[in-house]
Amino acid sequence: MSMMATSRAPQRLSRRAWLVQTTLVPLVLIGIWEVWAILAADPRAPAPTRVVESLIDLVVHGGLIMATLQSLGRVVSGFALALVIGVVLGILMGSIRWVRNLLDPIVESFRPIAPMAILPVAILWFGTGTPAALSIVSYAAFFPLLLNTVHGVSQVDRKLVLAARTMGVPRWRILTNVVLPASLPSILLGSRLAMGVAWTAIIAAELGVGAKSGGGGSGGIGAMMFIFYAYNIDLNAIVVCMIVVGVVALLIDRLFRLAERRLMPWRN
């Protein structure tokens, strides 16, 4: 018992120290911000307390949760589309040389074009609703997925493929049961990156689509921000949206890290 107590005590102390060290700077900054807002004496100036009020108001009356879910829904469906296309194409490009030779030039010429740069085309083709936002999200998520899958497939230990062949495993089974699991670490890394850029892209896309449609139509948290910026000029609400965007991005990242650990128990 006493051994356990002595071995645990330092750990608890250091955890408390860690908590203080990591929260001190943000807390001080928030304090300074609050004081500055009071001194500014402008009721529209954003302040931590007003941001919290605005958050409660937006959750209760402003449809913040619905808007966030709408954006998330677009990200998830756009990501799913990119996942299927990116992984299938990636496996083919990674394992069959002529497919790679055929597609590599196209991929490399589109890759530097930022998702936002295709927004005008997306609006012209798909209008200002969900399809336009979705296409931009898919486009953004596609490249990290494809490139990481290709990388993963080309890194697969050739011995494993040969071993499977000597066990009479048919070619398509080798793709699904050797190449795919062997490149899973890269595919999951690509997924995490893709989900990150997809979330960034949806906010930008909704902002842009919102601008075009005059605040109506598209919906989502990006459009909501645009309304607060262009019509209501509500800085507190904009800060609330920013925080929500950040928190959601963090949650997505954590979720994918958790999934990586769950899906790859052989990696520690």
Binding site: T166, M167, V169, A182
Partner: protein, 275 residues
């Protein structure tokens, strides 16, 4: 060493393999003029300095590569590609890192032709049997990275045997192990191969090694290969009694045979060191 009944298990006739070196683009002869006849149930060891084409020959028999010239037949039929009748144990084991010991041993039974027509119960029974045979009880749920080299080697051996191949092809399977583990596994390998049983029940085995004593200890015959280009220099009959135990190393005949083989490759081995 020839047994009475007609066709040999494996026949290599004037086999050669040339390839273009990926870096230099030069045409290289990995093996040339290889002639071998291997009978059913024989344990054949192949030794030779690095670069003598031992692994090339093994890959050709496995069907992972095609010979440039010559013919290779198994049971009288030409080898056209890889097949589960010729199981391979790779130098670094080639275990699937995302699968447990149990799933690795069952890989061929699950996804390959060896599992054709087996019910899931039969499959499980077979996996269990080989887990017992190689002594991996209690480690079924571990992943390869959690195992020692010796245990990985056992997994690879169990996987090889679970697929029920006719011919065992082993490419320096004990090469990565420490000396003590190696000696223990040599004895175990002979037991699993069926040394104590009837000759007809043994598998045909081809075992590549760079260790002369290992070759003498395990083999019915030792094929000595030489480099530049890779070819068969001699085939030595190992007339030591079976079953063999550690004590056979004290037998004067053991030393004679090892010495004879060393005599065949020592010049080249020295030349390899001098560059």
């Amino acid at each position: 060493m020839v047994n009475g009944n007609g066709t040999p298990k494996l026949r290599l006739q004037d086999v050669s393999k040339e390839f273009i070196a990926p870096r230099t683009g030069q045409l290289t002869t990995a093996a040339t003029g290889v002639n071998l006849e291997i009978q059913n149930g024989e344990f054949i060891c192949v030794v030779g300095p690095s670069g003598c084409g031992k692994s090339t020959v093994l890959n050709l028999i496995a069907g992972l590569d095609n010979p440039t010239t010559g013919k290779i037949e198994a049971n009288g039929a030409p080898i056209l590609g890889p097949g589960a009748d010729r199981g391979v144990m790779f130098q670094d084991y080639a275990l699937m890192p995302w699968q447990t010991v149990y799933d690795n041993i069952g890989f061929g039974l699950r996804y390959g032709t060896p599992g054709d027509g087996l019910s899931s119960n039969e499959r499980e029974g077979r996996i269990r049997h080989f887990i017992d045979l190689v002594g991996l009880n209690g480690s079924e749920k571990k992943y390869p990275h959690q195992l020692s080299g010796g245990m990985r080697q056992r997994v690879a051996l169990a996987r090889l045997l679970a697929n029920g191949p006719d011919i065992l092809l082993m490419d320096e399977p004990l090469g990565a192990l420490d000396a003590q583990t190696r000696l223990i596994l040599q004895v175990e390998l002979l037991r699993i191969w069926g040394e104590t049983g009837a000759r007809e029940q043994r598998k045909t085995a081809i075992f590549i090694t760079h260790d002369i004593e290992e070759a003498v200890f395990l083999g019915d015959r030792v094929v000595v290969m030489s480099t530049h280009p890779g070819r068969v220099k001699a085939v030595i009959d190992i007339d030591l009694p079976r079953p063999r135990t550690e004590h056979i190393r004290a037998n004067p005949r053991f030393g004679q045979l090892a010495d004879q083989i060393w005599g065949l490759i020592r010049d080249e081995a020295y030349r390899a060191i001098d560059g």
